[in-house]
Each structure stands twice: as structure tokens, then as C-alpha cells.
Symmetry: none
DNA sequence: CAATCGACGCAGCAATCGACGCAACTCGTA
DNA sequence: TACGAGTTGCGTCGATTGCTGCGTCGATTG
């Protein structure tokens, strides 16, 4: 670990920019060594270098330098997006007359039972309570996803239970929407949520929307079955900073949609390919593929306010 | 501190309108940056932005843009614009690539405008307000249906606007669900609502559900794309007094589904074939075909009343 | 003496400007 | 019922603005 100070030339060489540019960045955006006496040589600490790295990466992505600088300036402990995440051990559990929910807990089992009963009131109450108590992420990963997966499995196996699946989806959708509405986000919507073309499953996207609302981030949600042209037009019109495209199955995961997004007139800062449909090796460069809801949320949060933090509204 | 100077593009993105429209608003209504040198770039201060926000909200409520601009122009205290604002006082309306709502009223027009802007917040607020004020039936017939029909027409004609249609549907769905939840029905659910097989439009059914909830009648809602076997099974399991099957297009209106219902072990008292998909001459005997939402509601209410009479305790 | 500093200027490029026009909707009128 | 007048949002075009990266110059630092 070199905690010695780097000279301007060294930093410039490392970043791949001219020395003059470093000076410009300093006096235009205040993005320089934390301690610097005017007239003396600049000494960049590792922390300063990290800030400049952010600046360089953002500008390389196409962000306006002024924006990137504002963003890099206030990031002392910036990038730790990918953290250690405990992975639930896949364990076979339970059979029986109801829906297999794995070891998702008694609440999930109760929810599954209510679903089998087509008891929409109980379903709605259970989900709403979980949302209020544990938050969107935990409810999604620990309750909704297991139960829905269980119904799906059963549905594939027995070619029945479709009405149960639809009822669950509807109730979950309602509960998520209610949760999102309970915490109305403020500020401009810089994040666009959309399903892939032909994709009709929008529930995970609604969960993400609710999670965003929970975090106080406003967004635009287009919903299911959004054709490429419509998506591109929406991007062109609203110019979001980030776009999340959900694909549930491989059939709906056409990488061309993402390429079209990147080629749009107002290229979004970040394009997220979410859902199990996407294949990592076929994604165009510059597209990020979050592993789960939590990661998608943290990525979206990272881009949140790249433009301004005005105190209006 | 004039630190917050938004560019035209930033403001346009924030409001959801085109940059050109901002310029138009400036030169037509004098609604622009307080200090602007002709030829130079426009710099919107927070005060200017607030004025535009008012403009946006008013137009979303259905106010004529010209009038909205007059309102917004004199809103902020202090610096006032002395722009070329000599407009005629005529209260004409209409214009732009909006959605034809005919003579459905200003609220519908405002809703259509908000939809074009993909402004889900405004859409949701408008619908929720209408639901609370006028009730479900009036909101459906006087607001939602005209706007949705307008979008549909336009969508067929121009092969675009799909994202607007989806957003409207989603917001309407949310609002209807919220309204239904606000008045939780009591008692056992004796009415089953379901889409026909392969039918994916469930919004009218959700409107009926909300209307039922408003009337204090409890129901079970299965949702979209319910296969015949699933529907029959649900009927067998829950034994409803009435079943409403919605079909939006002729392709999904297979009379066999209704026959299967009538042949079910626990034959429902009343089977309603709702939606424009059904053809009166092909319906099996004993199936009623309501003309609109109000009729469907009154039929459902009649069933409830007859039940109360027969099973009175 | 090499590297850097602050100041100044310049060329490329994206965003924006003003002007014009188009398409589409409403409404009054024939 | 059809049609023209009035409105309105927005696309397009050529010119301009303003931001950005960086080279240059004389003075200073290490």
C-alpha cells in the first residue's frame, strides 16, 4: 500500500489524461488534492486518486464532465457496490398438499395456503404486513419469490393452479403498488423501468419500483410488453439516467433491445438487464446484469441524482 | 446563490416535455427564465422551475394551456416576466399530438396529457381523485374508458403509443385496487370475476371489482388468462352465486367456456358474459350479457339481494 | 534543470437557439 | 354531418453558444 503522495504527472499518466487537464479539473470543479497550497506542487493522496478514478470512469461512460465531477466530488467512500452476500443454501423441504416454499418460513406457508384458498383478502393482508415490517427487499426475497416459485413449479408439474398463480400475482402487485404509493417519491424521475418486448411478467419490476419508492427515489414505470420502439421513444423523450429492462424468459431477451437503448439519441448512463432471461455472454458492452433485486436497487441508487440535488418541492 | 441553473434540456427532461415545447412556452406565453438574453442559452432558476411545475400541474388537471400559463405567470412573488403576452381571451382548447377524448371533459383531457408525458404520479392522482369524488361507475364511463379508447384508437392508427397505453392501464389498475381496498367488503365472496381463456385485458374486470367493493359486495377476482379448467375448478371449489367472465375480443370469447361453467358440479346461479368479445347469438341459454359496467353491477347486486332474502338468518 | 504552477487561448463537439412548419384535436358554424 | 378556424406540442434546419480537453508561455518549485 503506497500511502505516499503522487505528483501531478504521475496521476495524469495513470489516468491517461494530460497534466493540464488535472489542473483544469482542479480549478474548474474543485477536484484536486485535498490539501494544496496555491503555488506549490500538487500532491495526490490515494483518496484523491480514487476520486479522480471515478471522474475518469464516469466521463468514459459518457457523463457530462460537470456532472461527473459533482458526483465524484462527494464520494469519499464511494464504490462498494458488489459486497459479500450470503447465499441461501438450496435445501429441499416439505411436500404435502400445499405449495412447496422451501425453507421460506411459516409466513410463506401461510401465504401459500391462502393462495390455494383463493382468499385474496388474506393474501393481501399478509403481503402488506410483510412489506410494512420487513421492507420490500426482504419481502420479495423471503416471501413472494419463494411462494411464486413454488406455485410455478407446481403449475408446471400438474398443469393446474393457474388461477392461483394469477391471483397471487395480482395481490402482490396491488400490495407493492400500495406500498410504493405510501411513500411518494420526490424529485425528477431519472430511472426508467420497463419489461422487454413481449415480456408479460412485470411483477419483479414492480417489486423494484416499490423498493425504489421505499428508498425515496422516483422512477418511471412503463410496465409489461413494451416494444423496442416504444422503449426507445420513452428514453428519448424523458432522458432517464438509468434504464432497467426486465426479461423473464430467454425468448423475450433480445440483446438488440439493449443495443437500441445504447444507440438512442440520449444514451442512458446505465442500462440494467434484469431477470433470468438475459444471458451474460450475449449482452452488449456497457450493460450491467444485476444478480438479484438488492443489487439492482443498489445500482439504481448509485445513479440516483447525477444531475442536481435542488431543494425544491 | 445562483448555483442551481438548469439548462433547457434538464428542465424538459424533468417535466417530461420536449425541449422545443419549453421554447414554445417561452415565446408564446412568456413562460421562460426570468433573465434571458435573446440568442443565449436559457438558464432556469428554481423559481422558474416552480412556475413551470405549476404549468404542468394545471395542464394535467385539464386547464387550457393558455390559461394555465396565465395562472403560472403571476404565481411567484418578485421578479415578473414582461414577455410578449398579448393573447386573445378565447377559451379554445385542443391541439398537439394528444389523445382524442372528444367531449369527455377537461379532466379527461388533463389525464390524457399526463399520460402522454408518462407522468405516472399525475395519472394516479387524477384517477384517485375522480374515484373518490364521482365513484367507480362514473369514473370508468366518463374518464377511464374515453381516455383508454382514445389511446387505443390512436395506437391502432399510428402503431405507436403502446407505452402510454400500458402506463395508463397500470395506473388505472393501481387506483382501482386502492379504491377497492379502501372499502373492504364484508361477508363471504359469492361473486367470482374472471377473464376468459387467453384474455389478457383485465382492467374492466378490475373496475367492476372496485364498483362491487364500493357497493359493499365482496367478490373473488381471478384475473387475466384463466383457462377453462382453472375457472371450472375455482367455481367447484368456492361455489360462487354469480360468475362474471370478461372477454375483450372475439378471439377469446369461446362460448364453450360458459357452457362448461353451467355444467359445473356446483352450478352458479348467474353467469355473466361481459365485454365486447361475446356475441349475443352464440351464448348458451341462461347466460346474461350486460351492456355496460352499470348493468353488470346492478345484476350482481340483484344476485346478492336475492341471496340475502333466501338465506336470511 | 526538470517538473510543475497559474493564466490564457484555441479547436472540437454537443446542446441549444430562433424560425418555420406540420399534424392533430376542439369547437363553432353551415 | 362536414368543414374551417383556433390551439398546441413538437420535429426539423442552419447558425450559435458554451463546455471541455489540452497546448503554450513565463514564473516558480524541488
Amino acid at each position: 500500500m503506497a500511502d505516499e503522495a503522487l505528483s501531478a504527472g504521475a496521476v495524469a499518466r495513470r489516468l491517461g489524461v494530460a497534466v493540464t487537464t488535472l489542473r483544469t479539473w482542479h480549478q474548474r470543479y474543485g477536484l484536486g488534492p485535498s490539501e494544496h497550497v496555491p503555488g506549490h506542487h500538487r500532491r495526490y493522496t490515494p483518496a484523491d486518486l480514487a476520486r479522480l478514478e471515478i471522474m475518469r470512469r464516469l466521463t468514459a461512460e459518457g457523463v457530462t464532465p460537470a456532472e461527473a465531477a459533482r458526483w465524484a466530488g462527494q464520494a469519499p467512500a464511494g464504490v462498494d457496490v458488489a459486497g459479500p452476500r450470503a447465499r441461501p443454501v438450496t435445501a429441499r423441504d416439505g411436500g404435502g398438499p400445499t405449495i412447496p416454499v422451501g425453507r421460506a418460513g411459516p409466513v410463506a406457508r401461510g401465504l401459500a395456503r391462502a393462495a390455494m384458498r383463493l382468499d385474496s383478502v388474506a393474501i393481501g393482508e399478509t403481503i402488506a404486513h410483510a412489506l410494512a415490517t420487513d421492507g420490500v427487499i426482504a419481502t420479495w426475497d423471503g416471501l413472494l419469490r419463494p411462494v411464486l416459485a413454488g406455485i410455478g413449479e407446481r403449475h408446471v408439474a400438474t398443469a393446474g393452479l393457474i388461477e392461483v398463480e394469477h391471483l397471487m400475482s395480482r395481490c402482490a402487485s396491488e400490495a407493492l403498488a400500495a406500498a410504493a404509493r405510501a411513500r411518494p417519491p420526490t424529485g425528477p424521475a431519472r430511472i426508467l423501468l420497463s419489461c422487454a418486448d413481449e415480456e408479460q411478467h412485470s411483477l419483479p419490476l414492480e417489486a423494484l419500483a416499490a423498493a425504489l419508492a421505499e428508498a425515496g427515489v422516483s422512477y418511471r414505470m412503463l410496465g409489461a410488453r413494451v416494444p423496442v420502439t416504444a422503449l426507445v421513444e420513452a428514453v428519448t423523450r424523458t432522458g432517464p439516467a438509468a434504464v432497467v429492462v426486465w426479461s423473464h424468459t430467454r425468448a423475450t431477451a433480445d440483446p438488440g433491445q439493449l443495443s437500441a437503448l445504447l444507440a438512442a439519441p440520449r444514451r442512458p448512463l446505465l442500462v440494467l438487464a434484469a431477470g433470468p432471461g438475459w444471458r451474460a455472454d450475449t449482452l452488449p458492452a456497457g450493460v450491467v446484469r444485476p444478480a438479484d433485486l438488492a443489487e439492482a436497487l443498489s445500482l439504481a441508487l448509485a445513479v440516483r441524482d447525477s444531475l442536481e440535488q435542488s431543494t425544491t418541492d
